[in-house]
C-alpha cells in the first residue's frame, strides 16, 4: 500500500538542537555566580531585587504582547534574562518600585514598542539603567557597602570609581578585593571573578564569542596603561566585566560579523575610558555600550564580508564601473 500525506518541507531536514530558549537558559545559568556573589556580599535584599526585576520584566512582556496581540514569547526566557541583568546594574538597596520602573523602560519602551524580540536598537537593560540613573540620580548612586563592611553609621559608601574620580586614590580597595568583589557598587559590578566564571560558561557553550569581551577589556587595559593608570583596577572596577561579558555581547544590539564585533568592542572600551578619565561621570560603561548600540547598524553596513575569492578593491572597482 502506498504511503500518502507525508510531511513535505524544504531542506535541510535536520537542524541543530540549539534554539533561542536554550541560548537564553544558558545566559541565565551563566548569571547564577554573579547573583550568588551579590547575595553573599549585599545580603538577601540583593536576591530579592533580582527576583523583582525578573518577575516584572516577564510580566510586562506578557502584558504588552497580550495588548498588542503579538505571540506571547515569555517562554523564550529573554525577558527573564533582561530582568536579571537589569538587577545586576542596580544598587542592592534600590527601592523596588524604581526597579519596576526600570523593568517597564526595558521591556515596554525599549523592546516591545520597537517591535519586540530582535527589533530593539539598544540593549533594554542598559537603556533602563541609564534612564534610572538620570531620573533617580541619588538612589542610583547610593551604593551600599558590603554587609561585612557596614557599620552603624555607614551603610553606604563611595564606589572605587567614585573614589577614583574624586582623586581619593589612597582609599581605593586592593586589586584582590576588587577581583573577588568585596567592594561597594551596583549588585553585579563588584565581583570580576563571578562574572568571569559566567563568561567562561558562555564561551564553553558557544553562546558568545570572545571577540567583543576581549576587544572591550583589552582596549580598557591598554588605555589605562597609556594614560598611566592601573589596568587591573580599571578592568575590575565598575561595569567593564558585566558590560563586556553580558551586555555588549547582546546579539540583537551588536554587529553580526566578526570584523564588526572587533570595531564594536574597541569602540566600547575607548568610550568607557574617555568618559571615566575626562567626563564628569565616574563610570562610562553604560553610556559607551549605549552609544555603540546605536552605531551598530552602521558598523554592520560597513563590514559586509567580501565574497570568497573577490578582493574588496575589485568589488569596489566593479561598483564604480556600473
Amino acid at each position: 500500500m502506498n504511503k500518502r500525506n507525508l510531511i513535505v518541507s524544504s531542506a535541510p531536514h535536520v537542524v541543530s538542537p540549539v534554539n533561542t530558549s536554550r541560548i537564553m537558559l544558558d545566559v541565565l545559568i551563566a548569571l547564577v555566580p554573579a547573583v550568588a556573589m551579590a547575595t553573599y556580599v549585599f545580603g538577601m535584599r540583593a536576591l530579592l531585587l533580582t527576583a523583582v526585576c525578573a518577575a516584572a520584566c516577564v510580566a510586562f512582556e506578557y502584558a504588552v504582547e497580550k495588548i498588542l496581540k503579538r505571540d506571547v514569547t515569555i517562554s523564550d526566557l529573554s525577558a527573564a534574562v533582561t530582568g536579571v541583568i537589569l538587577s545586576l546594574n542596580l544598587p542592592a538597596n534600590l527601592p523596588f518600585w524604581m526597579a519596576i520602573v526600570g523593568a517597564f523602560i526595558a521591556i515596554v519602551l525599549v523592546k516591545q514598542l520597537f517591535g519586540g524580540m530582535g527589533q530593539n536598537f539598544a540593549n533594554p537593560a542598559i537603556t533602563a539603567r541609564v534612564a534610572l540613573f538620570v531620573g533617580f540620580a541619588t538612589a542610583m548612586t547610593n551604593f551600599p557597602l558590603p554587609v561585612a563592611q557596614q557599620t552603624a553609621d555607614a551603610i553606604t559608601g563611595a564606589t572605587p570609581l567614585g573614589l577614583f574620580a574624586k582623586g581619593m586614590v589612597e582609599e581605593l580597595p586592593s586589586n584582590a578585593q576588587m577581583f573577588f568583589g568585596t567592594i561597594g557598587g551596583s549588585m553585579g559590578e563588584t565581583s570580576a571573578l563571578a562574572l568571569l566564571i559566567g563568561g567562561a560558561y558562555l564561551l564553553f557553550k558557544k553562546v558568545i564569542e570572545p571577540t567583543i569581551p576581549a576587544c572591550f577589556i583589552g582596549t580598557v587595559a591598554v588605555m589605562a596603561i597609556l594614560t598611566g593608570n592601573d589596568p587591573i583596577f580599571h578592568v575590575c572596577a565598575g561595569g567593564v566585566m558585566l558590560g563586556s561579558i553580558f551586555m555588549a555581547t547582546d546579539y540583537v544590539t551588536s554587529p553580526i560579523t566578526t570584523k564588526g564585533k572587533v570595531i564594536f568592542g574597541i569602540g566600547c572600551g575607548l568610550l568607557t575610558m574617555v568618559i571615566r578619565l575626562f567626563a564628569s561621570y565616574p563610570e562610562g560603561v553604560s553610556f559607551a555600550i549605549l552609544i555603540m548600540n546605536i552605531l551598530t547598524p552602521h558598523i554592520d553596513n560597513l563590514t559586509i564580508p567580501a565574497l570568497n575569492g573577490v578582493p574588496k578593491e575589485k568589488k569596489a572597482k566593479k561598483g564604480g564601473d556600473k
Binding site: L6, N19, R22, Y251, I256, D300, A306, N308
Partner: protein, 438 residues
C-alpha cells in the same frame, strides 16, 4: 581578513552513517519499472520504443538530438506495456515508459565495450553511457567534459566527499570499486588532455583514503585530497577550493578556473561502461532512517517504484511521516511514495513523525550563527530580511545570488528560520522576476 582563511566555513552535523561498510545488495527485480524521460538538466528524451515492443537491458529507450541531453536505457528486459504521464521523483509530471519485466534480464546486443581511441570517441562513449551528474544536479556528463575552453582546463576533481549525513554508497563504491574509479580517472585525464586528477575524500572514510593512496602509487598525476569532516565539503564550490585553492565565484563554471568536477559514482559508471558497454541502468542507494525496518545499501534498477525498494529493506517501521530523496541537508521531501528511482537518487531516507516535526519560527535574534556557518561568506540573516522587505538593492549589496542552498544557515539558526530556502530559492525567483542582477 577572511580572504586568507585556509578553509571555507561550514558546519558539523552528526554523520549518522549507520550503513557505513554495508555491502551494496541488488534488490529483487521489480515486476514493473517506470522510467521517466527527463532525468537530467536539458532537453527531455523522446521515447524511441513503442507500447508492445520487447526491450533488453541497456537498450536505448529514450533519446533526443538536442545538444544538452543524455540517453535513457531500459533497466530490465521485458515488454513496454505503457507510455504514460506520471509524477516523478523530481516532483514534476513527465512522460514515463513502463516496462513489465520478463525476469530474464537479457542484455541488449548493443552492450559491447565501445572502441575509444580519442577525445571525440570518449565523449561519445560518455554520452552513450547515459552518465549525468549523480551527485544530484543531473547535468549530462559529456557536456561537462567538453568545456568551451579545453586548453585552459587541466585538472579533474572527483567528488568523494559524501558529506551528507546518512549516505554511504559512494564510500562503499570507493572501497569496493577503487580500481574502476582510478581507471576512470586515468581515462578521463588521458582523453581530455588534462594534467592531473584529484579525488577529494572526507577523513571520516580512512579506508577509502588508504585504498586510493595505495592505488595511486606510481601515478604522479593522481592525488588524494583529504578533506576535513565538515559539511558541505562536497558542494562544488567548496570542493574546488579545498582541493585546488581556487575560488569558484557564483556564475562561473568550473572550467573557468581550469577544472572539471565529477562525482565519484559518475566516474565509476563511465569506466564500467568503457569496460563492459553496460550503460547506467541501476543506481546504488542508501536506504536509511528511523522508519525503515532494515537500513542498508542497495542497487536498484532505474525506474523501480519506491515501495519495492523499501519492501526489500523489510518495509516501513511504524508510520512513516517523511520521505527524503537524497541527504537530509539538501534532499527533497516527497508528498507520497508513489515515485520511482531515477539516475539522481542517491538515498531514500524514511523518518517517523517525531523526526519530521517542523519547528515554529521565532524572531531573528541577530546571533550571527548563520554568518559563521555560511561557506560562501554571506550574511544570511540580512539576505532574508532584505527579501522580506523586497529590497532588491539590499539583496545585491549582500550578494544574495551567491547562495548555493547548502542549508548550513538553516541548520544552525536558533530561531528556526528557513534561511536557505528563502535565500536559495525564493530570493532567486524574486531577483529574476525583477529583471535579475542590476
Amino acid at each position: 581578513m577572511s580572504s586568507v582563511q585556509k578553509h571555507l566555513k561550514g558546519i558539523h552535523v552528526d554523520h549518522c552513517k549507520n550503513t557505513a561498510g554495508c555491502a551494496i545488495t541488488p534488490i529483487v527485480l521489480p515486476e514493473k519499472v517506470y522510467i521517466p524521460m527527463s532525468q537530467h538538466i536539458g532537453a527531455p528524451c523522446q521515447p524511441t520504443v513503442a507500447v508492445g515492443d520487447h526491450v533488453k537491458v541497456g537498450q536505448v529507450i529514450g533519446d533526443n538530438a538536442a545538444p544538452v541531453c543524455a540517453p535513457i536505457h531500459a533497466s530490465v528486459s521485458g515488454e513496454v506495456t505503457a507510455i504514460e504521464q506520471k509524477m516523478t521523483a523530481q516532483g514534476r509530471v513527465d512522460t514515463v515508459i513502463v516496462i513489465t519485466a520478463d525476469g530474464k534480464q537479457e542484455p541488449a546486443e548493443t552492450v559491447v565495450p565501445p572502441v575509444v581511441t580519442n577525445k571525440e570517441e570518449f565523449l561519445k562513449a560518455v554520452r552513450a553511457s547515459g552518465a549525468v551528474g549523480l551527485g544530484g544536479a543531473g547535468f549530462p556528463t559529456h557536456i561537462k567534459f567538453n568545456p568551451r575552453n579545453p586548453e585552459e582546463v587541466d585538472t579533474l576533481i572527483v567528488n568523494g566527499a559524501e558529506c551528507e549525513p546518512f549516505i554511504t554508497v559512494d564510500h562503499q563504491n570507493m572501497v569496493v570499486h577503487a580500481q574502476d574509479i582510478m581507471d576512470g580517472m586515468l581515462h578521463t585525464i588521458h582523453f581530455l588532455n588534462l594534467k592531473k586528477g584529484i579525488i577529494g575524500i572526507e577523513t571520516n572514510k580512512p579506508d577509502a583514503i588508504a585504498k586510493f593512496k595505495e592505488l595511486f602509487q606510481g601515478h604522479p598525476e593522481l592525488e588524494v585530497a583529504e578533506l576535513q569532516q565538515q559539511y558541505p565539503q562536497g558542494a562544488e564550490r567548496v570542493l574546488c577550493y579545498e582541493t585546488t585553492g581556487k575560488h569558484l565565484i557564483a556564475g562561473k563554471l568550473p572550467a573557468d578556473v581550469g577544472v572539471i568536477i565529477s562525482n565519484v559514482s559518475t566516474i565509476m559508471k563511465i569506466e564500467q561502461f568503457l569496460k563492459t558497454g553496460m550503460p547506467l541502468v541501476s543506481k546504488s542507494i542508501t536506504v536509511d532512517g528511523n522508519a525503515v525496518t532494515n537500513p542498508q545499501n542497495v542497487e536498484a534498477p532505474i525506474g523501480t517504484p519506491l515501495p519495492e525498494v523499501i519492501g526489500f529493506c523489510g518495509g516501513y517501521k511504524g508510520e512513516p511521516k517523511k520521505i527524503i530523496l537524497g541527504g537530509p541537508m539538501m534532499g527533497r521531501a516527497i508528498p507520497n511514495d508513489d515515485v520511482c528511482v531515477v539516475k539522481g537518487t542517491s538515498a531514500i531516507l524514511v523518518f517517523d513523525e517525531a523526526f519530521a516535526q517542523i519547528n515554529a519560527e521565532t524572531a531573528c535574534i541577530n546571533c550571527g550563527r548563520c554568518v559563521k556557518a555560511c561557506p560562501m561568506n554571506l550574511v544570511p540573516a540580512q539576505i532574508y530580511k532584505a527579501y522580506n522587505n523586497k529590497d532588491l538593492e539590499a539583496l545585491n549589496k549582500y550578494h544574495a545570488m551567491t547562495c548555493m542552498s547548502c542549508g548550513c544557515c538553516t541548520y544552525v539558526c536558533p530561531a528556526r528560520k528557513q534561511l536557505s530556502f528563502i535565500n536559495g530559492n525564493l530570493v532567486k525567483g524574486f531577483v529574476n522576476s525583477q529583471g535579475g542582477k542590476k
